[in-house]
């Protein structure tokens, strides 16, 4: 089943890997150009400093106008949308295409348990998505997040909430979207409908992750109230910690999506 799953995923794995590699390369090159231009203009952008302390005012780009600012904005767009794109590339065709072409009738009548088809394909897609986005996210966080932070202005502040400058949050976005699109495709087939549903669900998932993260953070704070140091830490969360809880909410969402997928498969096909 592994060979078949990987063979079927091959074109999408290639596209996702290429997207990941090109994005990571763009982030590295972009960050280098920004650094050179900033130095040329005497702008010192410190290592990642979430509060922009002493750098420049809110809603103003601290980077030199022109290429540096444009590149900074492009880096923000990469961080915000590449996790979604990788998730869509891997998740949308995962089961929807099989349903469209009725090849599920072939694979589901071979002598292997049907849930293995679901878990193997989903497992490889989630792993590949996580690795692809992790490559971009790690590159972005190490090389470009400090520049993305000082690129402010209309919209870009909001986009920061989409990637949160967090490796974990970006990776979990891909994982969740892959699982969600896969399960939507499994439920209804039809690739285009799956794509539209996944895209529409994305902002909803981000808001839910935000709220879920807050709830989880609050729950962690309450559960650690016996420890003064722990509750103090969780009661005053940093941006990274908030992003970690939001990523955890997305991870829970992924688990729920996979469980729903198992129920769909068990519900539409006969059980032994």
């Amino acid at each position: 089943m592994n060979w078949l799953a990987l063979r079927l995923l091959r074109p999408y794995l290639i596209v996702a890997a290429a997207l990941s590699a090109v994005s990571a390369a763009f982030v590295l090159i972009g960050a280098r150009v920004i650094r050179q231009q900033a130095e040329a203009h005497g702008v010192v952008v410190a290592d990642y400093a979430p509060d922009r302390t002493g750098l420049c005012e809110q809603a103003v780009s601290c980077l030199p106008a022109g290429t540096a600012t444009n590149l900074g904005q492009a880096l923000v767009l990469v961080a915000a949308f590449v996790p979604l794109l990788i998730g869509l590339v891997l998740g949308v065709p995962l089961f929807a295409r099989e349903r469209d072409e009725a090849t599920d009738a072939f694979v589901l009548t071979q002598s292997v348990p049907r849930l293995r088809w679901l878990s193997t394909k989903l497992g490889w897609a989630l792993t590949a998505g996580a690795l692809g986005t992790a490559t971009v996210a790690v590159t972005f966080r190490l090389a470009a997040a400090k520049y993305a932070l000082v690129v402010d202005g209309l919209g870009y502040g909001l986009l920061r909430e989409v990637h949160k400058n967090s490796i974990g949050f970006m990776v979990m976005q891909t994982v969740f979207i892959t699982a969600l699109a896969g399960i939507v495709g499994l439920a209804g087939g039809r690739t285009l409908r799956t794509l539209v549903t996944a895209v529409v669900a994305w902002p909803v998932a981000l808001v839910a992750a935000q709220l879920g993260g807050l709830l989880l953070g609050m729950l962690a704070y309450l559960l650690t109230s016996w420890s003064e140091s722990l509750s103090l830490m969780l009661g005053t969360q940093t941006e990274n910690e908030t992003a970690a809880f939001a990523a955890l909410a997305l991870a829970l969402g992924t688990v729920v999506a996979v469980l729903i997928g198992r129920r769909i498969l068990a519900g539409t096909t006969a059980r032994s």
Partner: protein
Amino acid sequence: MSADRTTPALEVAGVAHTFGRRRALDDCSFTVPAGAVTALVGRNGAGKSTLLRAAAGLLRPDSGEVRVFGEPAGDGSLPRIGYVAQQAPLYPMLTVAQTLTVGSRLNPRWDAAYAHRLADDADLPGAARVGTLPAGHRSRLALVMALAKRPDLLLLDEPLAPLDPVARTEVAGTLMADVAERGTTVVLSSHVVADIDGVCDRVVVLTEGRVRLAAEVEAALDGHLVAVGAGIEFSAFDSSEVVEVRAAGADATALIRPTGSAPSGGLAWHRPTLEELLLGYLRTPTRQVPTA
């Protein structure tokens, strides 16, 4: 051969299923004994494919039960069934050789030598991508995949439809050889009477999702008569005996399932052909189910 001859290969009991507001199957019940070659006959949309999908465990019916060799259709029965869906869906990006390899990896009872022999007999080029094969070749490959699993029950959804006349004969020969050699039970759907005449020993007729007739072919033919005569003379029959009446002027032709003695009077009658029998049932609305 691993099939237990005393347990029916397929038991369909009170199966009903709807798609939205359309009732695809309505209280279907019949059994297929092990080793039988059964034709599932019905018009387009009669529910043949739905019934075969339920037997293959691809669809859970709204109500009723489908058992394969005594086990509920599902994961447990997968190694014992070979299923070819309509249009023989296979992965178009794989080559024929890769498709056979997939079969060997996913089926512990896979007979690689048999698969290659069948593929060679069908002139399937190993290096060709499945997506580039003509429909007939794709259908042959799907049949190879089902047969090389060495199943005890073969479920074939209109397997002969895309084949040319020569290929039809070859496929029918392959199926019959497998039945003779291993006692494989075959259930094949079709709406072409010529495809099943002489091949099947049992027949199940579906109309509008209901089983109209489920019987051995010879018993069904013996139990029916085609009567020709003045239309008025058919009034002597009980309405439950008359399967179909077709009038042509003052005369009429009727398919009758007499419950008593043979008809007399001015009627000319003969034993129906399989085509007359099946068309008689297929042309008329749903009635009670005669089984034999």
